[in-house]
């Protein structure tokens, strides 16, 4: 059976155009059917209908990909290719992504449900910038020369691992792919990447683009399949020396376990969060309201760093809640391709059910639905932006990651108390504080147990600033120079020039 492919004519208010590209398993620069000749249906979250069927990858495909990636690493990638050349190819990749900017954004909106405008402004913009940023690092991977004594030359090399496995989620499909490809390729690794089976389209479109950019076949291999087959195969593969996973904490544990049981491969994880967003009495109200809304409702709440627990000091609580409610009610839900839509549907039926279940539990456990709390529309997976108040710390909606447009607003009085509450979670991905007193902002930032501390903003990232979790939100950092450490293995070379024994 030959490769599946996807052809589609976009005829929407904000984007018109035709796309056509292969959607098979991508190994060694070629597309093919999956190992069992089965397919996965890609569902349109606006109406539950099948967009297309793509080849399903299997553990056998992972095995094949690893063999190819290993061969490519040894012969045509790795340190056989100077950094400047790796950088050149990454820049070429970014150029091509820019060339196909709107098409990629449209595919992302179609597949994930986020609006076309947000896909352009956030996902595509950040994806291109991230690839360019790492292109610049490729010829700057320095080791050190370390002075010991005159009869020794000691230096370090920061070598690539070899074949790395990468497993990415469905909330920012293309952006997550670029965060993974950038540092891995810049440092000289070859890749076996599993996109989410819920949102594979932009990753598959990228395969053709990767070929066009000129990467040697086998440098990047893309296999769409299920977590418990393809994801598991990658995590436990004896020929993969490093695995990077972004997704839920639950699955992150499985990845780390599989790595431990197989070959102790190096593991980095970007997991969940229940990030606190603290609004002090002296916060600028408009700033706090706008950013808080962005913090929980951007991307339909499907962001690992979402500011989902909003702590508001009692002096500003009533004013804040009123303005925040107004802001929330002003967010327009609608078709992802309508020019004025802010929010599209949640990504899938499973997520929809999960979020509605949390909302139910909030109601049952006695929290007050201040805004929202219901489905929007009659088909597809839209959920109204929702605010709960009158919660208690033990409620599920306060403790667990919902991953939807559902925020809890919690009143507090005392600074020490709110810091304690903010840190009272297994998670530690991000945190934010709103205050005009920057001294206090900095003091809070230093005390919050989170990998990213935002002062007077939320959910703002840059390709050159590191991002990652404390505690059970993750291991390692992405973005910035720090991400290079995830993909290099340090070798110390000792050249003895005169020490006899």
């Amino acid at each position: 059976m030959s490769t599946t492919s996807f052809t589609h004519e976009f005829n929407t208010e904000s984007f018109k155009g035709k796309v056509s590209f292969p959607t098979g398993v991508f190994i060694d620069g070629k597309f093919s059917a999956g190992g069992d000749n089965t397919t996965i249906d890609v569902i349109n979250p606006t109406n539950g209908k099948v967009i297309t069927s793509i080849a399903e990858g299997t553990a056998a495909d992972v095995d094949r990909a690893v063999q190819v990636a290993k061969r490519t690493y040894e012969k045509s990638w790795g340190l056989n290719v100077p950094g400047a050349e790796r950088g050149r190819l990454l820049n070429r990749l970014a150029d091509l992504m820019e060339k196909h900017f709107d098409e990629l954004a449209a595919l992302e909106a179609l597949d994930n449900g986020k609006t076309f405008n947000w896909a352009k402004a956030a996902d595509l913009t950040m994806s291109v910038a991230t690839i360019r940023y790492y292109a610049g690092w490729a010829d700057k991977i320095h080791g050190q020369v370390i002075e010991t004594s005159e009869d020794k030359l000691a230096y370090t090399r920061h070598e690539p691992f070899g074949v790395v496995g990468q497993i990415i989620p469905w909330n920012f499909p293309l952006m997550m792919m670029s965060w993974k490809l950038g540092p891995a390729l810049a440092t000289g690794n070859t890749i076996v990447l599993k996109p989410s089976e819920f949102t594979p389209l932009t990753a598959l479109r990228m395969c053709t683009i990767i070929n066009e950019a000129g990467f040697p076949p086998g440098t990047v291999n893309v296999i769409v399949g299920y977590g418990n087959t393809v994801g598991q195969a990658i995590s436990e593969h004896m020929g993969i020396d490093k695995v990077a996973f972004t997704g839920s904490t639950l699955v992150g544990r499985k990845v780390m376990e599989a790595a431990a049981k197989s070959n102790l491969k190096n593991v980095t994880l970007e997991l969940g969060g229940k990030s606190p967003n603290i609004v002090m009495n002296d916060a600028d109200l408009e700033t706090a309201v706008n950013w808080s809304s962005h913090g929980i409702f951007w991307n339909h709440g499907q962001a690992c760093c979402a500011g989902s627990r909003i702590f508001v000091q009692s002096g500003i609580y009533d004013k804040f809640l009123k303005a925040f409610t107004e802001k929330t009610l002003s967010l327009k839900l609608g078709d992802p391709f309508a020019e004025d839509s802010y929010q599209g549907p949640q990504v899938s039926k499973i997520q929809y059910d999960r979020i509605m279940d949390f909302i139910d539990s909030g109601k049952k456990q006695g929290a007050k639905v201040h805004v929202g709390g219901e489905r929007f529309g009659h088909e597809g997976y839209w959920i109204q932006p929702t605010i709960f108040t009158n919660t208690t710390p033990d409620m599920r909606i306060v403790q667990e990651e919902i991953f939807g447009p559902v925020g809890v607003v919690i009143k507090f009085e005392d600074e020490e108390d709110v810091l304690r509450q903010a840190n009272d979670t297994l998670y530690g991905l991000a945190a934010a504080v709103f205050t005009k007193d920057i001294t206090r902002g900095i003091q809070f930032a230093h005390k919050l147990q989170a990998g990213t501390a935002w002062i007077n903003c939320v959910n703002q990232l840059h390709p050159n600033v590191p991002f990652g979790g404390y505690k059970q939100s993750g291991v390692g950092r992405e973005l910035g120079e720090y991400a290079l450490n995830n993909y290099t293995n340090v070798k110390a070379v000792h050249v003895n020039l005169g020490h006899t024994i």
């Binding site: 950094g83 400047a84 950088g87 050149r88 820049n91 910038a129 360019r132 940023y133 292109a135 610049g136 690092w137 490729a138 010829d139 700057k140 320095h142 005159e150 030359l153 920057i438 001294t439 900095i442 003091q443 230093h446 390709p463 050159n464 120079e481 050249v495 020039l497 005169g498």
Partner: protein
């Protein structure tokens, strides 16, 4: 103010704007105090065109333009991402116009077109892309001091308005080495190309504008060294001067900086680099590298391996192999495909190099090959090798900057090191040996900023380059070049400590 220069062997011309490039426009001199500069073709000895020569007042105008840009559209007002984008665009444009730029470079400097295009320009494009990659990665540090009360951070700020003075031996490449790191960090530039080879700097200025740099970020002011160069070095509103050229001029620049406003100074000066051939060396390969070391760019290279020291056991054999290699290089017109080298750049240089050859003969060195003038037009100097030299000869002590090699003999490794280091210069050195311990010992002992082991004259954009001793101050290329354009500000932010008073 635009001239058309004919390209040999074709019907086309290249246009060159001959005014001063200030604020993204080509303008005349404000006071016309200086005679226009005659620009020569060293292969034909003919005048190609004249260009405006910047006066002291013109330098003031250019510096003011650079200062304004620094305060408004550049410096801290532009992000690293945007600087990266613009520098990459400039690199793309230079790549696009590589053939034309190579032809212009060859007409003005004499080097072969193919070398200008594939090496000078190829490496220059790589240099710009390398530093574009750094622009958004220039980080300061956060430093632990009093926990819970203070935070200390360092900001790597651009030094400011930089005067850059470049030589005539690699006009385009020296331009790229200077502008790339300065722009990546956020500095603005007043660039004075050599008055002997101003044409490609002027042509590159068109591309600066096309790439989209804001006006005033790069300004190009061809000028006499004693006028424009001196004015930049002593200017009270220039924050840093970067100079590549002779050690004699380098001293003047540093002096002017000291007596004016203590501006920061970096210098890439001359060299009399030693090139050592040990008896275990691969003779054929070493001879290739030795030939490259003195003949590349017709010896007009600050790192030229101009003092060759050969171990006595292989001296005669090596000398004969080397002479054969030197004879293989065709030195001729830059537009002739068979040329591997061109004339020296000017009448002044021609006379200077021939003076040294004469002195070599007078002081008793043996001419192995060369040493005879041609009778045809052009400032040609053929490969010249002097053997049996002694340390006190002028040709051994002083930088000749032509294809003239002095070859001496040594017996022991210690002697070779002593001979090699016996110079006020310290730019580069080379050694050939298959004994790896010897390679390490000798490379450690050589007093030079770059040591080549079993090769010579190969540089990479990501490896630092510069001189020890009187060959220079500071480093170009690699991440270190960025340090030359960064001024660190430490911010101590107290948010928790209250001061008790009185003490």
């Amino acid at each position: 103010m635009v001239v058309q220069i004919a390209i040999p062997n074709s019907n086309s011309t290249v246009s060159v704007a001959t005014g001063l490039f200030i604020n993204n426009e080509f303008v005349p001199s404000v006071d016309k105090a200086e005679e226009p500069i005659k620009v020569y073709n060293p292969s034909t000895e003919e005048v190609l065109c004249t260009v405006t020569s910047a006066s002291v007042k013109d330098i003031d105008v250019a510096v003011a333009a650079a200062r304004k840009a620094l305060k408004t559209t550049w410096g801290k007002n532009v992000t690293g991402f945007e600087r990266a984008r613009l520098i990459n665009k400039l690199a793309d444009l230079i790549e696009r116009d590589a053939q034309t730029l190579a032809e212009l470079e060859s007409l003005n400097n004499g080097k072969p077109v193919k070398i200008a295009r594939d090496f000078d320009i190829g490496d220059s494009v790589g240099c710009l892309r390398y530093y574009a990659g750094w622009a958004d990665k220039i980080t300061g540090q956060s430093i632990e001091i009093d926990r819970n009360m203070k935070v200390a951070v360092t900001h790597p700020e651009p030094i400011g308005v930089c005067g850059q003075i470049i030589p005539w031996n690699y006009p385009i490449q020296m331009w790229a080495w200077k502008v790339a790191p300065a722009l990546a960090v956020g500095c603005t530039i007043v660039m004075k190309p050599s008055e002997i080879t101003p044409l490609t700097a002027l042509k590159l200025s068109e591309l600066v504008k096309e790439a989209g740099f804001p006006p005033g970020v790069i300004n190009t002011v061809p000028s006499l060294g004693s006028v424009g160069g001196a004015a930049l070095a002593s200017h009270k509103d220039v924050d840093k001067v970067a100079f590549t050229g002779s050690t004699i001029t380098g001293r003047k620049i540093m002096e002017a900086a000291a007596t004016s406003n203590l501006k920061k100074v970096s210098l890439e000066l001359g060299g009399k680099s030693p090139h050592i051939i040990f008896e275990s060396a691969d003779i054929d390969q070493a001879a290739n590298w030795a030939a490259l070391g003195i003949l590349y760019n017709t010896g007009q290279d600050c790192t030229a391996g101009s003092r060759l020291y050969v171990q006595d056991t292989i001296y005669d054999k090596f000398l004969s192999v080397l002479a054969g290699k030197a004879k293989e290089l065709v030195i001729g017109d830059g537009f002739d495909e068979s040329s591997g080298g061109g004339p020296v750049v000017s009448k002044g240089q021609y006379d200077r190099v021939w003076n040294y050859i004469d002195s070599g003969k007078k002081e008793g060195a043996r001419v192995v090959i060369g040493g005879e003038k041609r009778s045809t037009p052009g400032y040609y100097v053929d490969a010249t090798i002097f053997a049996d030299v002694t340390p006190n000869m002028k040709i051994v002590k002083e930088e000749i900057f032509g294809p003239v090699l002095s070859v001496g003999k040594f017996h022991t490794e210690e002697e070779a090191i002593a001979l090699a280091n016996d110079t006020t210069y310290g730019l580069a050195a080379g050694l050939h040996s298959t004994d790896s311990s010897q390679c390490h010992r000798v490379s450690t002992a050589l007093e030079a900023g770059t040591v080549w082991v079993n090769q010579y004259n190969v540089l990479y954009n990501n490896v630092p380059f510069g001189g020890k001793k009187q060959s220079g101050i500071g480093r170009e290329l690699g991440s270190q070049a960025l340090d030359e354009y960064i001024s660190t500000k430490a911010v101590h932010w107290n948010y928790g400590e209250k001061l008790d008073w009185p003490l």
